[in-house]
């Protein structure tokens, strides 16, 4: 939780962010750090916590989520090649159940990174919710053809397992 408050405070106090001119001089140094913080946000933030938390926590959750989205969008606008930022943004939308936004982000990401197995894998995860079992199988095949090593990725196992379960139903 503290790391999120730190993130929130630092973003609020960053005059450059307020002036929509963020990190021009420091982005090269901070990009990795920012990505780590955002990853930490995804990994640690109690998903669904806002549904049972008090108003203050809900506000904090909404506020931090909005800021993380702004930050990622900013990074992506300036640094199209930042593959992990595209994926992180898509996953945040997925977590928020904003499926159209998640698909839109992944679609742009795949246009820029068509040979990235990782991008295809996260695309498969997003498409899992559509119920298009054949389509997801095809995306997974593409994932492996681009990067065979992803066969041991935890989300590859997860998508394959979920697909098998869907096929039974």
């Amino acid at each position: 939780m503290n790391i999120l408050k730190d993130l929130s405070n630092s973003m609020q106090s960053d005059k450059n962010l307020r002036n929509d001119n963020i990190f021009d001089s420091t982005i090269h140094l901070d990009l990795e750090c920012i990505t780590t913080i955002i990853k930490y946000y995804l990994v640690k933030w109690p998903m669904g916590f806002h549904e049972i938390a008090g108003i203050e926590e809900q506000d904090e959750w909404t506020s931090i989520t909005e800021k993380v989205i702004i930050l990622l969008t900013y990074i992506i606008d300036r640094y199209h090649s930042s593959l992990h930022s595209w994926i992180l943004l898509a996953k945040i939308y997925l977590q928020l159940n904003k499926m159209d936004d998640a698909r839109n982000v992944m679609s742009k990401c795949l246009t820029l990174h068509p040979r990235s197995g990782l991008a295809h894998l996260y695309h498969a995860q997003i498409q899992l919710g559509t119920g298009d079992v054949t389509g997801v199988h095809q995306i997974l095949e593409r994932t492996i053809s681009e990067d065979f090593g992803l066969k041991t990725h935890p989300l590859y196992y997860f998508v394959k397992g979920s697909l098998s379960l869907k096929e039974v139903r």
């Binding site: 990853k39 998903m47 990725h153 997860f158 979920s162 098998s164 379960l165 039974v168």
Partner: protein
Amino acid sequence: MLDEAKSFLVAAIQCKEISDDGLPGSNYIVSLDDRLSCYIELGKTLLARDELNALEKVSIQAEKKFSGLSKSFHFTLFRSDILLKSNEVKKALHLFTNIHHVSSSLRELFLFQEGKLTL
């Protein structure tokens, strides 16, 4: 297919990114929601395979791991399903009605479904 689902989902939760806390630093982006979803999908698979002992173990483990999260009510529901399968309806209902995340309409639906029994 259920065998395949089980083996993939067990493999997923055995990955350290999912079994531990998926700390940043690795190249894998595995969110808390992903980790929770793996356990839910495994629970559904075990229920479909009627592996109730394994389901109970996984549910208890996941309830602890994801305690406080709204989606963790799935694991309580699995335990409720196990009790229902053993005809322990009252215990199942007690467990179910104590899930504070579950909306009253869902509770009513459950009561309606089980309404043939004296409650």
